[in-house]
């Protein structure tokens, strides 16, 4: 067999973004020997792209904020499809996780009294996002990277080797998880980009922290790493994916020049006063407030504008509706012929805030538009439109431990499913990463402690490894096959045009038929050149994951006959309480994706009690609704009063 380097670890974390690094730090703090596998260089993961901030109900700017309000906002944003236990843990633990970053050296922007400042964002009732200008993700990843280094310095002092307990394997890609005869995780197999050599990480626990699936779509804000690796590795290892039809199209990205189409324009532009206008100069969002949100959003521009300075007596402007609503509205305006010259709409902060304030609060946005589009955002409006940004669906996990159904497998961050329901609120991702990254680290450590005897070191079979090696070498050894770049581009085209922001049965069916052919073609591509740092070969291997996940998204999108959050069906435009009760679960049956329905677990009574019955009735079936006059549980703070209704 081809030479495989074998490395023994307790925990292998696949992914070195926010959740992966946080998980690795926790596993190392629990005394476990931990490997971090990074597809890129250390500190470059997609987390650096996050701009707006990390949502945590610290109450630094508005003392009325607390975890219950954050929980409610998260459930509303996700249209009640969220795993409520995850939403609860997230809302409760996010403040400590943000403060912890501060204790590790992060420098967030401050309030006048020296606390961490918090900014407004779509769907959040109070200013809640801890931020650093518009580069919060970079601050988070650098802080976690530097914390890993700090731990390595401790280990150097104690063990004489900085990498004794935690080591980062940069530019390394995992292509298969391996299991023992009993079906438990035994490790992860992959290649080192620099030289193409194969490596087997032998470990009883693997934490997936690979992020999302953006490269399944054509116009996406996601980086090249986002090829659904963790989603696919989980499926191939026998785990399940939850609600893959929910894909977030973030409303504001650059649309021009074409080469930067999909580059994110942070929601902070709107949080800080920017408004959306159509070609007629109209603030069109006032016409798109859906019934479920009508009580919470301003009806006039005057009221919306007053809210920025007096949020206690005015309702927020509809530009700050959850992302799915804003994305659909922009889509509708463009379709109606009221778009901007390059097929987007106008995002205007120039006429609303002084240039000096824009430069201070949105330095990256200023820089990005100036350098890439010759647009001065302090003087003229931006042209923006929706692009694929995030996937709410992901590996089905236990909320408390992040464990998937395969023993020894864990998942955290974007690759996991449930937390965000059908639509994620801005700012809830960075906090999700650290809350559930930490929990996955603890979950993996506890799993290791529970193993006994021979079970402590599950071993992969040579036969499975031989299959993994053959699969990885195939595109290099095959000659005359198709160009992987061409096949990839067709998958993206198919998904963007047929399973994109607005979906229809006939279109999804033709996408599935296309994907069937593309799956065959993806399996027959060739990569010219050798094994050392060969991007064509890397893409050829990623293609398997991209096509597999595209299939899951399309199948789930076909099955769910309603519109909710990041899943809009032209042929089923309404939201249905019956469908809210249904989780769609993807698994692999042989080499085919199969889909089944699984009922939602009913929400705990004390959490239900945080909502008005009238609001719940918009989402839940009559059977699920609490009795007509629910008593608020004594240990819970009463729900904060609604804004003037």
């Amino acid at each position: 067999m081809t030479d495989i380097e074998r490395l023994g670890y307790d925990v292998v974390v696949i992914g070195a973004g926010g959740s992966g690094l946080r998980a690795a730090i926790e596993a190392r703090l629990a005394g476990k020997k931990t490997a971090v596998i990074s597809k890129s260089l250390f500190g470059k993961a997609h987390t650096v792209m996050a701009e707006g901030g990390a949502a945590a109900a610290m109450g630094n700017v508005n003392p009325n904020d607390n975890w219950q309000v954050h929980f409610r906002d998260t459930m509303r944003g996700g249209k009640f499809m969220n795993n409520w236990r995850m939403a609860e843990l997230h809302a409760r633990e996010a403040p400590d996780r943000v403060w912890e970053l501060e204790a590790w050296g992060a420098l967030f922007d401050r309030t006048p009294d020296g606390k961490i400042s918090q900014r407004n964002f779509g769907g959040h009732e109070y200013p809640r996002l801890a931020h650093v200008g518009d580069r919060t993700g970079l601050e988070m990843i650098r802080t976690l990277q530097q914390k890993v280094v700090a731990l390595q310095q401790e280990d150097a002092r104690e063990h004489g080797d900085p990498e004794a307990m935690i080591k980062v394997f940069a530019e390394t890609t995992i292509t298969r998880l391996v299991k023992d005869a009993g079906g438990r995780i035994a490790g992860a197999f992959g290649y080192i980009r620099e030289n193409g050599r194969f490596v087997l990480f032998e470990a009883p626990a693997v934490i997936l922290a690979t992020g999302g699936i953006g490269k399944t779509f054509k116009i996406t804000s996601n980086s090249w790493e986002y090829t659904g690796d963790g989603h696919a590795l989980a499926l191939l290892a026998g785990a399940t994916l939850l609600n893959m039809e929910f894909v977030q199209f973030h409303p504001t990205h650059m649309v021009w020049p074409l080469s930067v189409a999909g580059l994110l324009v942070t929601e902070s532009v709107r949080g800080d006063g920017g408004v959306l206008r159509n070609s007629e100069g109209k603030r069109f969002m006032f016409g798109y407030v859906p019934d479920v949100f009508r009580a919470q959003y301003a009806e006039t521009e005057e009221e919306g504008d007053r809210w920025y300075t007096d949020p206690d007596h005015n309702r927020r402007p509809p530009e700050l509706l959850p992302r799915d609503e804003v994305a659909r509205s922009i889509n509708a305006e463009v379709k109606a012929g009221r778009g901007s010259p390059h097929g987007g709409v106008f995002l205007d902060i120039a006429s609303r805030r002084p240039a000096e304030e824009i430069l201070r609060k949105l330095p990256s946005m200023y820089h990005q538009f100036k350098e890439l589009a010759d647009v001065d955002i302090t003087k003229e409006p931006m042209e923006v439109g929706p692009a694929q940004h995030y996937v709410m669906g992901g590996v089905e996990v236990d909320p408390d431990t992040a464990a998937a159904i395969v023993p020894g497998l864990f998942a955290a961050g974007e690759v996991s499913g449930g937390m965000h329901g059908s639509n994620r609120l801005g700012g809830n991702s960075l906090s999700d990463l650290v809350v559930f990254g930490r929990r996955a680290g603890i979950g993996a450590a506890e799993y290791l402690d529970s193993l006994e005897g021979a079970g402590r070191r599950p071993a992969a079979s040579d036969a499975d490894l031989a299959v993994a090696v053959a699969e990885a070498l195939a595109p290099l050894e095959r000659s005359g096959g198709e160009n992987p770049y061409a096949v990839h581009s067709e998958v993206q085209q198919t998904m963007s045009s047929l399973v994109g922001i607005i979906r229809r049965e006939d279109e999804i069916k033709s996408a599935l038929a296309e994907l069937e052919k593309l799956r065959e073609r993806a399996a027959q591509v060739s990569a010219a050149g050798g094994a050392a740092y060969n991007p064509g070969w890397h893409l050829a291997l990623d293609l398997r994951n991209i096509v597999l996940i595209a299939d899951c998204v399309a199948q789930a999108a076909l099955e769910r006959q309603e519109s909710r959050g990041g899943h809009t069906r032209d042929d089923f435009p309404g939201m249905s309480p019956e469908w809210r009760n249904v989780n769609l679960i993807c698994s692999l049956d042989g080499d085919r994706v199969s889909l089944r329905r699984q009922p939602m677990i009913p929400m705990r009574d004390d959490l239900l009690g945080l909502f008005d019955r009238a609001e719940l009735s918009k989402y839940l079936t009559d059977d699920e609704l609490p009795p007509a006059a629910p008593a608020a549980p004594a240990d819970q703070a009463p729900p904060a009063s609604e804004e003037t209704s």
Binding site: S40, V48, D96, W224, P257, P484, P535
Partner: protein, 261 residues
Amino acid sequence: MGEKVTLRIWRGDAGQGALTDYQVEANEGEVILDVLHRLQATQAGDLAVRWNCKAGKCGSCSMEINGRPRLACMTRMSIFEPAETITLTPMRTFPVIRDLVTDVSFNYAKAREIPSFTPDPSVQLGEFRMQQVDVQRSQEFRKCIECFLCQDTCHVIRDHPENERAFAGPRFLMRIAELEMHPADTADRRSIAQDDFGLGYCNITKCCTEVCPENIKITDNALIPMKERVAGRKYDPLVWLGSKITRRTHADTPKAGGKRT
């Protein structure tokens, strides 16, 4: 639309290599990285290029474009003359892995030698209080995307690998400045900045500042103030006297992972 441009790209590995010319289509509004991607997709599938975000935020696609250290994702095609041959070479200060990709592990090794953030352990979670005006100085340095273009251009190590042991380069001298100016940090890295990380090698030519894609004023705001702090410590007569009559109660923070020499 669709003009052909000539890219002259260094191809090869650590052993050897040569410049190879390619004719590639380029469209309005594109950047170098777009054209490289088209080249990969149509003519050279195995061309090694390191990239990630394509948005100037991750600092992966550093290379030398017509000899100047730049990010490929932030270099617009419109800055070149229509008939100009554009030469792309790997960063010269670091060993080549393949084509335009270099081994930047030197930087990660230096990062690990700098004593980490050291807060007062008695401060509880959520109890830090810092003013915006005080965090702003270090925040500027934390904008760094670690593209290592400043390291690439710095003449102390460019073509002088013999200095790499004694000199951390602008990125990591700035990291020391960032920690020294962090309002909640309690360690003192002034002596090691000079003795272990080679602050004295910097003769403030500002080449690093010039190539920084984040427009960080590395020299003016980090390196020169750091030199002043080091000089202040070394030549302040009170500090000197104190160091002679007390028994090093405020010993310098040693370099991490090694003895001070």
